[in-house]
């Protein structure tokens, strides 16, 4: 690959709060190519949403990208002015969010909102943009599109609102779609539908997708590659089949092993990850996952490991980098 | 005059843990500033007889219309030669007690109504709230003027009139708070332990009402002072020769062309006083609001 569509290079985003500074994105690097679907997995506070907001430069007031480069189609987004970013957002890059019901403006009709990117960026008039919205509604599978565009968001169900949001993101045929937990607020059955939709759209258009989630099942279904984040850092990165088949970071391993199995013995207790998510203001020295890690050795508390190649993909772990395979420690039950 | 207090009632929120004064002071400098101003005003009112350079009602026709910064008359004299500075200081002795009594009347009467309405609900609530709605519909100022004019223009009647007009705000506020509290778990728990309504009200409801009510008291004090000033501006408050800010503006207005200070000084006094109370109420509300505290 000569030029990646999107490339993050050692990005550091800090949040300056009253209580202190949080290194929300702490030296994150990865890339996304055209047509790919990349999954970013992590728990709340791992920095996955902040990474997305950094790419779109939609950080809250307290946040700032302090160093690093975010190259989109060759241009470094961190150096662009707000006006220049406004031209990119909604045209070449689009983002949809977790709660579709609150993400739509309640006092404007849905069709108008979905067609708005065309009004803003292509100078198209309102009527034409609503016609385009009707076409988009059909594309994302909203029935009775002509009737729906005239409705206000509060009459839409959760699933339908998210479809509308996807339609909104796709009106200008962006090269990259960032979806931040698009299915978390939806029912399970609807989740599957939305994910199918995303996968089809991605396949048909060659658009790249970044899918952010805390749910591994989602990743397995539609992502080509996956990044696992913990405490603001990337701890594992690689092709989805590889990472699932042999996770090389104890956190990923723990996530996979805490998924309850249908064929498990129901007298066995559910497996959990010990401990609680890290306090971002008081991170431990050494490896950040070490306090909760079942495989930790002495070195882990002292030095923080680098992200290195381990058996075909990248992982940030002393233990696996030294050659130990985590799979061998799996209980047979 | 009547719309702003009604707004406060809709923004009340409950805290279940008490705030320590020091914690309050450290994080919120505005509270300290406003609190000090209010304290200063109370002190002025209290100590006016001792700190006034002159007798506020002593007439001295030869010295009339002296401008500010005249010898021994810091703010000059009025049309009858009375020292303006002393009269302003003594004016606080009228305005502040009126505010205090009026707010007390509104708070106690309105608070009791709100408590009964909120706690017992049902027919009590229905009837009492209709009564409150009716009271609220009355144009407060006209009502106050009418009451005072009817009963006779003196300070005591002004206090009563303003107090009556303040009742609906407290009734609605306390009722809204009680309704919120009633459904909180700790009330259900206490009741299941067999506590009587009286005990619940006294030991559990009232302490938790204190914070929003204190905020409202500060704001009402400000409005009460404005109301008193308006009444006495119309000649319905303290009568001559008692120095009263509103009344001073009234007489001062006639001399506006020659000696604007006679009207401007008492006007500034009223404004600063009301501002202090409003600032106190505002900053307390920000400081005590659990949502804003994180």
């Amino acid at each position: 690959m000569s030029l990646h569509l999107l490339e993050l290079e050692d990005v550091h985003t800090n949040l300056t709060l009253k209580a202190g500074v949080v290194r929300a994105v702490d030296g994150v690097s990865f890339h996304v190519d055209a047509g790919e679907t990349l999954g970013i997995v992590g728990e709340s506070g791992s920095g996955k949403s902040m990474t997305a907001l950094s790419i779109m430069r939609l950080l809250p007031r307290s946040g700032r990208i302090d160093s690093g480069a975010i190259r989109f189609k060759g241009r470094d987004l961190t150096g662009l002015s707000e006006d220049e970013m406004e031209e990119i957002r909604g045209t070449e890059m689009a983002m949809i969010f977790q709660d579709p019901m609150t993400s739509l403006n309640p006092v404007y009709r849905t069709g108008w909102q979905v067609g708005e990117p065309l009004q803003i960026h292509r100078g198209i008039d309102v009527r034409a943009s609503i016609a385009a919205a009707i076409a988009m509604f059909k594309k994302v599978g909203i029935p009775e599109a002509e009737k729906r565009v005239a409705q206000y968001p509060h009459v839409f169900s959760g699933g339908m609102s998210q479809r509308a949001m996807i339609a909104m993101g796709l009106t200008t045929s962006p090269s990259l779609l960032i979806a931040d937990e698009p299915t978390t607020a939806l029912d399970v059955t609807i989740q599957a539908q939305i994910l199918d939709l995303l996968r089809n759209l991605n396949r048909d258009s060659g658009m790249a997708t970044i899918l952010i989630t805390h749910n591994l099942g989602v990743v397995a279904g539609i992502c080509d590659r996956v990044i696992v984040m913990y405490a603001g850092r990337v701890v594992e990165q690689g092709r989805t089949e590889d990472v699932f088949a042999h996770p090389e970071h104890p956190y990923t391993w723990s996530l996979l092993h805490s998924i309850p199995r249908l064929d498990a013995d129901d007298r066995e207790p559910l497996k959990v990850i010990e401990g609680s998510p890290p306090d971002m203001m008081r991170l431990p020295s050494g490896c950040k996952f070490q306090p909760r890690c079942p495989f930790a050795v002495e070195q882990c508390a002292k030095d923080e490991p680098e992200l290195r190649d381990v058996r075909g993909h990248l992982a940030r772990c002393w233990v696996t980098q030294a050659g130990t395979s985590l799979n061998g420690s799996v209980d047979a039950g | 005059m009547s719309t702003a207090p009604a707004l406060v009632a809709t923004q009340a929120s409950i805290r279940q843990t008490r705030i320590h004064l020091l914690e309050l002071a450290r994080g919120h400098p505005r509270v300290i500033l406003a609190g000090s101003l209010v304290l200063l005003l109370f002190l002025i009112a209290l100590l006016a007889p001792f700190i006034s350079p002159h007798d506020p009602i002593a007439v001295n026709a030869d010295n009339a219309y002296l401008p500010p910064l005249s010898p021994s008359h810091l703010l000059g004299t009025d049309e009858l030669g009375r020292d303006l500075f002393s009269r302003v200081l003594w004016g606080a002795r009228v305005s502040l007690p009126v505010a205090f009594v009026a707010v007390a009347v509104g708070l106690v009467a309105g608070g009791v109504i709100g408590l009964i309405s909120g706690y017992f609900g049902g027919i009590f609530d229905l009837l009492l709230m209709r009564f409150i709605d009716a009271l609220l519909a009355f144009p407060a100022l006209i009502l106050a003027i009418a009451i005072v004019a009817a009963l006779g223009p003196d300070l005591r009647n002004a206090m009563i009139a303003i107090g009556i007009v303040a009742i609906p705000v407290y009734a609605r506020l306390v009722r809204a708070l009680v309704l919120q509290l009633k459904h909180m778990e700790f009330i259900a728990a206490t009741r299941s332990l067999g506590a009587t309504p009286m005990r619940i009200i006294l030991r559990h409801l009232i302490p938790n009402l204190l914070n929003p009510v204190i905020v409202q008291v500060s704001l009402s004090a400000g409005f009460a002072i404005l109301a008193e000033a308006t009444l006495s501006f119309l000649g319905l408050g303290a009568q001559v020769p008692t120095p009263d800010w509103g009344q001073m503006i009234n007489t001062g207005a006639t001399f506006l062309a020659n000696d604007p200070w006679l009207a401007i000084v008492p006007g500034a006094a009223i404004s600063v006083t009301v501002f202090s109370f409003n600032l106190l109420g505002d900053s307390l509300r920000d400081a005590l609001d659990p949502r804003l505290r994180s």
Binding site: Y152 | T3, R130, A137, A146, A150, F233, I264, G267, F275
Partner: protein
Amino acid sequence: MTTYVLRRLVLMVPVAFLVTIGVFMLIHLTPGDPALILLGEDRSPQAIAAIHQQLGLDKPLYVQYLIWLGHIVHGDFGRSITTHQPVTTAIGERLPATLELGAVALIWSLLVAIPLGTIAALRRGSLADHLATGLAVGGVSIPNFFIGIVLIFFLSVTLRLFPFGGYVPFNQDPFENLRHVILPAIALGTAGAAINMRFTRSSMIEVLNQDYIRTARAKGAPWRRVVFIHALKNALIPVVTIVGLQIGGIIEGAVVTETVFTWPGVGRLAVESIFNRDYTVVQGIVLLAAFSYLIANLLVDLVYGWLDPRISYA
């Protein structure tokens, strides 16, 4: 929708009754024989007897109330004790002046409040914000009659730009009419401006924190569009509520301002009537003010429902 309106009107009925009872009692609470109060100067025994009979003052109180209420419902508010004009005429003559004053005051208040409130919200926490908020607190702290007097002093007496009182009807001389209404409108509207500014500010802050604003930005909408199209419409809906209530409270607010500027409106009529013991006029004005307030409350809720698509009164 009609059921909602009907339900609200039904709930208003007891309140309306209580209001009329209160107004009725105004006369009866005053110490002294109501007949003497109503008669004014002509206190001959025949006149007293006539009034007693006309009002049925020998009858029990509730009967008197019902008789009076009956008159009111038919639009008969009695006559002014001092001028013997029908009360409706007396009020009707003065009402347009008050309405004009209130309207201009409202326009002034909104012209100041909405831009300042929006700017304060956008620059939250900055010096501009603190200044604006401080000004707003100041605005409700200064008595409106004092603002009037200060304005008169600076702009009428010293600079001679504006007259210090009085009224010129609009159809007689529009320019003079405006020249006369500006100072009292500013005095009347400043407190409202302060309240509206703070409300706009807090409403705007809340709206700007909403998810749909983030969506608008993610679409690449420039800030101006985000604020004026996406945020403002949402933020102003609650502001409509308080503005509506301020309209309902026009008469009360105008009382002192009209007195200071000798503006021939209903507020000043109220004060004069109170001092002249012209209780029939006072009753009429209080009824008018109270009912405008109640109707304003109802209208405000309806308008709110009309503006916010999420609310349906079906």
